[in-house]
Subunit: 506 residues, 2 copies
Amino acid sequence: MNATMLSIEKEFLAFVKKMMAYKEAVSLMYWDLRTGAPRKGAEQRSETISMLSSELFAMSTSEEMAAYIGKLSNKEAKESLSERTNRLVEECKKEYDLNKKIPADEYKEYVTIQAHAETIWEEAREKSDFAMFLPYLEKLVYYNKRFIGYWGYKEHKYDTLLDQYEPGMTVKTLDEVFGKLRQSIVPLVKDIADSLNKPSTDFLYDTFPKAKQKEFTLQILDQMGYDFDAGRLDDTVHPFATGINPGDVRITTRYDENDFRMAVFGTIHEGGHAIYEQNISKELVDTLLCDGASMGIHESQSLFYENFVSRHQGFWEHNFELLNQYAPDQFDRITLDEFYRAINESKPSLIRIEADELTYPLHIMIRYELEKAIFNDEIEVKDLPQLWNEKYEEYLGVTPKTDAEGVLQDVHWAGGSFGYFPSYALGYMYAAQLKQSMLKSIPEFDQLLEEGNLTPIREWLTENVHRYGRMKEPLEIIQSATGEGLNVQYLIDYLTDKYRAIYQLN
Amino acid sequence: MNATMLSIEKEFLAFVKKMMAYKEAVSLMYWDLRTGAPRKGAEQRSETISMLSSELFAMSTSEEMAAYIGKLSNKEAKESLSERTNRLVEECKKEYDLNKKIPADEYKEYVTIQAHAETIWEEAREKSDFAMFLPYLEKLVYYNKRFIGYWGYKEHKYDTLLDQYEPGMTVKTLDEVFGKLRQSIVPLVKDIADSLNKPSTDFLYDTFPKAKQKEFTLQILDQMGYDFDAGRLDDTVHPFATGINPGDVRITTRYDENDFRMAVFGTIHEGGHAIYEQNISKELVDTLLCDGASMGIHESQSLFYENFVSRHQGFWEHNFELLNQYAPDQFDRITLDEFYRAINESKPSLIRIEADELTYPLHIMIRYELEKAIFNDEIEVKDLPQLWNEKYEEYLGVTPKTDAEGVLQDVHWAGGSFGYFPSYALGYMYAAQLKQSMLKSIPEFDQLLEEGNLTPIREWLTENVHRYGRMKEPLEIIQSATGEGLNVQYLIDYLTDKYRAIYQLN
């Protein structure tokens, strides 16, 4: 590499490092706001977050950034730069192009509407008043349609939105995999409803003091390999994991004293996200690549731990006795088998985040189909509540009584995040596929769970997923880890086998 | 005001608001680092703090700032702008001039040495090895002398350093007040040493569980009027208060289970700092004026609560019973009078931060005299340990056995903060003077304490001190609140009366 190129690369990396400093400050301020910032400082804090976010946005679309991209994207540069820098330039270029194509004024209007929409949505959900939220939702859709116009699309307009969260994902692929999944799940859900072998679940709702739940989940996080020297666990209302910097990846959770599953499985889920970010290669520090590959890959890690580890019988062979120590009155009279069946109860429900692992994908498909229809101009925003309810009846056999427990339940649309929901189901399919592939290297998977030795599992995930950060596209990661592209069959097999066994269906 | 001026003012205020956003981010990151950030993220966090601090520094010395100052400092501008904007321009100009006069290269070298010096000092203190720290301390002094050269001085070189922390303060004033103070305290300390009526203090060191100490101090903070909706209390190693934004002023404290005084009086002290910042006029939000007037004024507020409120007998008339509820075994056999005398025990000691309120000013005077002598080129840095020990013998009758409990005990010099120490003693004098003045409006002061009604006291401090933020110079605040300039006699009288009574000296 010649001296000029070397010095441009150095400047570019310093510029990106500065962007990462802003990102760190914003992440910490956000975390703080959600975990314990005093009420009276919140408004000012939000302004500060938005001010520093704007600085970050300005840097990503600056002339300086354009100049770096220009100088570092040509053939000669590509040949002389490291794989890491090439990939970084690629990611910066993608972001630059996306952001730069939208006229600044229009983007500003959009951000303002977004900010208001979330507040209005909160109130609308509380009052179960869709009409109140409608004008905002219409505007958010309107702007996103305009953005698609600026960004362009190949086959489906909605593909462009999907690509933001899951690079490379398309309607064509999703229609296919969701179609197969639906075909298998819907009859299974019906069989379960008719089953005479339902688990008893009363004991799940016994009072389990928060402090004891916390002690137990801390032990489980430790078992999973979550590094407490590079993170911490705090309380919040809406749980999340956040990578503030590579040595500081935090988890937040919430507790329901009358349903320990919320904190236990919730923390394990967020723990899966956090372990991902804790194990990204240190070579990617100080770059945008030191992050999850996509929303779907991120979700594959949280769901791997939540479903394939902590809802597995082997996991409780090891941990049920431990759980019992923290709430002896609750579990003393329960057998391990009863416990296992109870925590895997499946029952159609209205609220996505409370759904069990079998019916969960149906909640996602409903949202996917509605989003797709909106952006392909097949339905109107105002018709969403009715269509939502019809689909819930059709897929799950339940109908929301109010919009609060229907179309208004999730925040995503209020934030303008159209195209995000499918990531949840994709993550689930990825996780099942990774599990199947992992079994080839770790045939003793079940036994490891029974022994409480989760280290080889974490190491396999680091080797095949974590360490790459954003160095690879999501489907590249799946391909190299499993030897094939996205294949929904693994999830179908998993769900079928597991639930037929639990409900003793022949 | 004409339209151009109006629009320049608007831009200037937006620029300053942006600076405040950086300041908020840096303050939160610092707080987080000191209260619970995971170990492995600390190095990156420090880099991020220093990167955003540099941005802030760059803004304060930018050409943009110079242009605003130029356009808003002329006579015509001054006449048309609000008092608030005028004062803000003045403060920005002062900062600009100070920072801009130092050649950038030299400042950068200095900051680097500073960063290393703190780490070296930590190790040197641990090993009690002054020689190890000496070259760094010499460099820090060298640079500060050069800076004084750039900044200029009137009477004493050291005045320029004092002015950074306490605008308007001079060697001339300090020599006078410290002289008087010393003349009164030194003989009093000797009399106390000879007194036959010393308090019993054994019970102070009984085990008092941390959780119980915390519950008690939270009650006291509430009594003081600390607003928990605009702040929070956390654990740390070195306690501090920090105004992250005007609605978010946090306190940190530490606990010694074998000496409850550390947390109780420490939290009250930091609470005094925090109450100050919580009550600055909301009109000053988003400007550099939304801050304490000076280090000395800030300290006057913390010491007011610590010494004049919480070491007062009336305060314990109300709170001793409450304290007793949290540690009955410890205090059941103790009378209020025994308790009051014990917590006000005075005894010469080696460590400043552990000193009682009578001997504390002597610790400050020693540092003041040594700093003054260094910057007036009367002594050399290498001779500090010996001179330190001699002065401790002379003023307090004790001699450090090691430099760790002598010249190496405080971090200030390692941070290059020369001229800072006198603020502690100034704050004390201000507090005594404010107390005397408060008595004119609130003659029932003692009774309020006995009733646990601290509201009128807090309101008086807000009315006379807090609300002004940096709108006034420290001595202006003292003048308007007390009707006279700095007068050390109030502190002398307070200490003399109080300690002669406690030790029953005739």
